[in-house]
Amino acid sequence: MGSIDTKGLDSEKRHPGFSALGDDAHLAGAYLASILEHSGDIIFMLNEEGTILSFSKRGEEILQYSEKDIVGHPVQAIVHDVEAFENALSVCGKKGRVIVPELAFRNRAGTPESCDLCLIRIPNGQKDDHVFLGIGRELHCEKKLQDDLTRVDRLAELGRAASGIVHDINNPVAVIGEISGWMEVLISDASGLRPDEREELAKAVRDIEKQTRRCRAITRQVLNFARESASEKRTFDLHEVLQNTVQFLRSEAVSKNIEIVLDFMESPPPVQSDPERLEQVFINLLSNAVYSIKEGRTQGGEIRVKTSKTDGMVEILISDNGTGIPEELHEKIFELFYTTKPSGKGTGLGLPICRNIIEKLGGEISFKSEPGVGTTFFVRLPVA
């Protein structure tokens, strides 16, 4: 935006590109119209008093007003930071141009939409007044992405700092689990207990076990976060990593009547990536699949792991015929701490970790899902 001529567009100092239009008013009009129609920015024109005269297509989309609804209204109607905007207008009136980083407009719903704003005063030749041209570039996506990344990084940082402690906590938690197992035995062997006492004690011990399980789920995920930061790329055989991971979960799958089918492409291209982190991703995706099948059906559970090559990338598909994910949750499942599992079963860190890892490795992760039918996760990785 810095390249805009600060002096405004009086006829002597036109942008060189403009001269190509010559004096063809029709062409100039068409040119302008297409800019307003297709530019990705909010482009608008105000009169001297700040009344809206014109409004670009993208402006309509972002702020959710149609041009005809908004033309004729004071610009304050679509601005969130009113004071900052009014200041900018008055500076622009004097200096001819002003740039305001991160100024918030307000959409029809009242939600602020952050933009980098550039205001330019355009003298109105015939009359002795001027109009203002405004160009707002949406910040929303970039900023949101940035926020997400900082949040994830902060968590990774937290994870790293905590991992030492977490390791140390894991051991006593395992010991507590073992002791409660032993107590369970003692209680069932003990003589001289009334049945209700026995039941009460047994329940208490089961509760201890449940809670230790919960601790483990948490510590496991914190460790995942901690490890994920230290990515190390090398060339390796993707199928081997997949096979190892599947092998690792196979006994769990078998015990739940789930078949894991491998459908590997022939002669896979070598990938340059981090096998340990990928193993983490596949374990997460596969355990989600196992869980969802366990929830969704008692028979005929199947997980398919398929590899193929598309657009110079290697694609790994992990499909299950479990519960599927309802449409309205599609946005949510990659959010930190979002989980539909009962407390103690899920932390909601699995998928955000997966996404973080895959994106750091220059790949993509996405999914398709139909409730009642199943879910497919797609992981794409760059080939070496």
């Binding site: 894991n170 051991n171 938690v173 395992a174 010991v175 689990g177 073992e178 002791i179 197992g181 032993w182 035995v185 483990r216 496991r220 460790l223 995942n224 490890r227 190892n244 991971t245 690792f248 096998p275 340990e276 193993e279 983490q280």
Partner: protein, 164 residues
């Protein structure tokens, strides 16, 4: 068909309290159990006593699980080892798998799963042992010794392999 009393289990983990309770449970289950708190100690114990199955933690100060397991195998070739590994250490675990550990189990251990795995490992041990025994018996017969010589040699083998 409970024959667990015959299964001799060697436990190796530096977490002493954990082993204390784990061995109590396994003993009550009917296994014969010996708890050791380091790879070095386990190797010493294995020099004197025979075991069927070893349950060894991968991460220990001093001699780690993989190494311990290799050494044990040298002393008692039929001994089957179950290696316990932390989350994310699959690579190391597979490495130990290639060193013929019977199986690697993810920590924290599920008790029932561990018990089942110990029994399977025991069966594998017996199977291997008997196969080897038969092989050597056949060898003896082929060696063309007299009936008495054969009987003597086979008896000796029975003793070595603990088979009657």
């Amino acid at each position: 068909m409970e024959e667990k009393a015959d299964i001799r289990v060697l436990l190796i983990d530096d977490e002493e309290t954990l082993l204390e309770y784990l061995s109590k449970r396994l003993l009550r289950e009917g296994f014969t159990v010996k708890a050791t708190f380091s790879g070095e100690e386990a190797v010493e114990v294995a020099a004197d006593d025979n075991f069927d199955v070893a349950v060894v933690d991968l991460k220990m100060p001093g001699m780690d699980g993989v190494e311990t397991q290799k050494k044990l195998k040298k002393i008692q070739p039929f001994l089957q080892s179950i290696v316990l590994t932390g989350h994310g250490a699959i690579d190391t675990a597979l490495e130990s798998g290639r060193q013929d550990a019977y199986k690697y189990l993810l920590k924290p251990i599920e008790y029932d799963n561990l018990v089942d795995t110990i029994k399977e490992a025991y069966e594998k041990k017996v199977e291997l042992q008997q196969a080897k025994f038969r092989e050597e018996v056949e060898e003896i017969y082929r060696s063309g010794r007299g009936a008495r010589g054969i009987k003597k040699a086979v008896n000796k083998l029975r003793k070595i392999y603990g088979i009657d």
